[in-house]
């Protein structure tokens, strides 16, 4: 009887932890690439499907940080997972930080910032956002968690991450300025 109950609990746990398993795969893929984690946010108790992880990008001279947000939308229950699957949004935010102090450069950056602040320019499906010394590029896609949560899905996880990373990085390259200090991240 105990075995029956614990087997049921184990199946239920495996289904509920699918998003954590995908986050684990994402962190491992980033770690292998040389991008260490520098921040975690696992959301509020009532929104247990939300998980955000921030990475430093020391191997990348353009980017300052990368943030990956996985927000589970469906598939917490057995019936729901069977009918509509385990869907989640995967959002990546790439950040360029410009360490500048020359008043002329700061003025030029402020002008670009003021011009873009109400425009929210879109490049394809990439959203650019200017905030003083920071420019971010964001892209969000919908993923089926069952296709990303196992050890056999490592390659798919990496392909998805590097495709997003490449697209966001390309959008941000024009905004990177020569810095007065080394980017610590």
């Amino acid at each position: 009887m105990l075995k029956l109950l614990t087997d049921f609990a184990a199946r239920s746990e495996a289904r509920e932890s699918r998003d954590e398993a995908v986050v684990g795969q994402i962190i491992a893929a980033m770690g292998r690439r040389g991008f260490p984690t520098i921040g975690f946010s696992t959301g509020l108790a009532e929104d247990s499907g939300f998980q955000a992880v921030q990475f430093a990008t020391p191997a990348d001279p353009v980017l300052h940080t990368l943030t990956v947000v996985l927000d589970r939308k469906t598939g917490g229950g057995a019936i729901q997972e069977k009918i509509i699957g385990s869907k989640a949004t995967l959002r990546m935010v790439a950040e360029v930080k410009n360490f500048i102090a020359d008043p002329d450069d700061l003025l030029a950056m402020w002008r670009t910032d003021a011009r873009n602040i109400l425009r929210m320019p879109m490049m394809g499906q990439v959203r650019l956002d200017h905030q003083l010394n920071t420019v971010t590029a964001t892209k969000q896609i919908l993923v089926e968690l069952t296709e990303y949560d196992g050890p056999e899905d490592t390659q798919r996880v990496e392909q998805t991450l590097w495709a997003l990373y490449g697209e966001l990085r390309d959008a941000l390259v024009p905004y990177k300025r020569a810095s007065i200090v080394d980017d610590p991240m």
């Binding site: 614990t6 980033m30 770690g31 984690t37 007065i180």
Partner: protein
């Protein structure tokens, strides 16, 4: 003001901002050392075939739980940053309190019941949270029995900024091995 005076002033301003960034970044490194360690632990275990099944974090207190890829054994790591302030970190090191717990699935109800009883008893003992003291707990809902040990680690032993000096997961692994041995012995009676 002459052009030269303006240029000298701007150069000094740039130097002040650059120095400020360096001081600010030292603070950032200190604040994020525990996050770097947590990511390194996850990367190591997931790359080794374990599945991440739980992740909780409020920024300074983190908890991760893994399940063995081939099997049912579980590993829980709780990590609490003790020295995020760079002054404390400089004086004491980048200390973190780490709880390592190894879990075995027990099909015998009495083993889980006994583990819960043991846990209740150990809660009344003052030294149960001292380093190296192993406590046992049971989880009735999932049928697991866990052996837990608290440790205090210095992250400077494992990381130099973002660079890995020695793998922290290696030390967690030896702790888990000892817990596994202890727990197997306890469950065997």
């Amino acid at each position: 003001m002459t052009t030269t005076q303006t240029e000298v002033g701007e150069a000094r301003f740039t130097a002040l901002v650059a120095a400020s960034w360096k001081r600010y970044n030292a603070w950032e490194y200190s604040r994020r050392a525990d996050d770097v360690a947590l990511g390194a632990v996850i990367t190591s275990y997931v790359s080794g075939g374990w599945r991440l099944i739980d992740l909780e974090s409020d920024g300074t207190s983190h908890m991760v739980r893994f399940q063995a890829g081939q099997g049912t054994d579980r590993l829980l790591v709780r990590l609490v940053a003790l020295c995020e302030d760079p002054v404390r970190a400089k004086a004491l090191g980048r200390l973190v309190e780490v709880q390592v717990a190894y879990g075995l699935r027990a099909d015998d109800f009495s083993a889980i019941k006994q583990a819960i009883k043991d846990e209740l008893k150990s809660n009344m003992v003052e030294n149960a949270s001292e380093p190296g003291v192993i406590t046992v707990d049971g989880d009735m809902s999932t049928g697991y029995v866990y052996a837990t040990v608290p440790l205090i680690l210095d992250l400077d032993d494992y990381f130099d900024g973002f660079t890995v000096r020695a793998p922290i997961a290696g030390d967690l692994h030896v702790a888990a091995q000892s817990l596994h041995k202890y727990l197997t012995g306890r469950l065997a009676g």
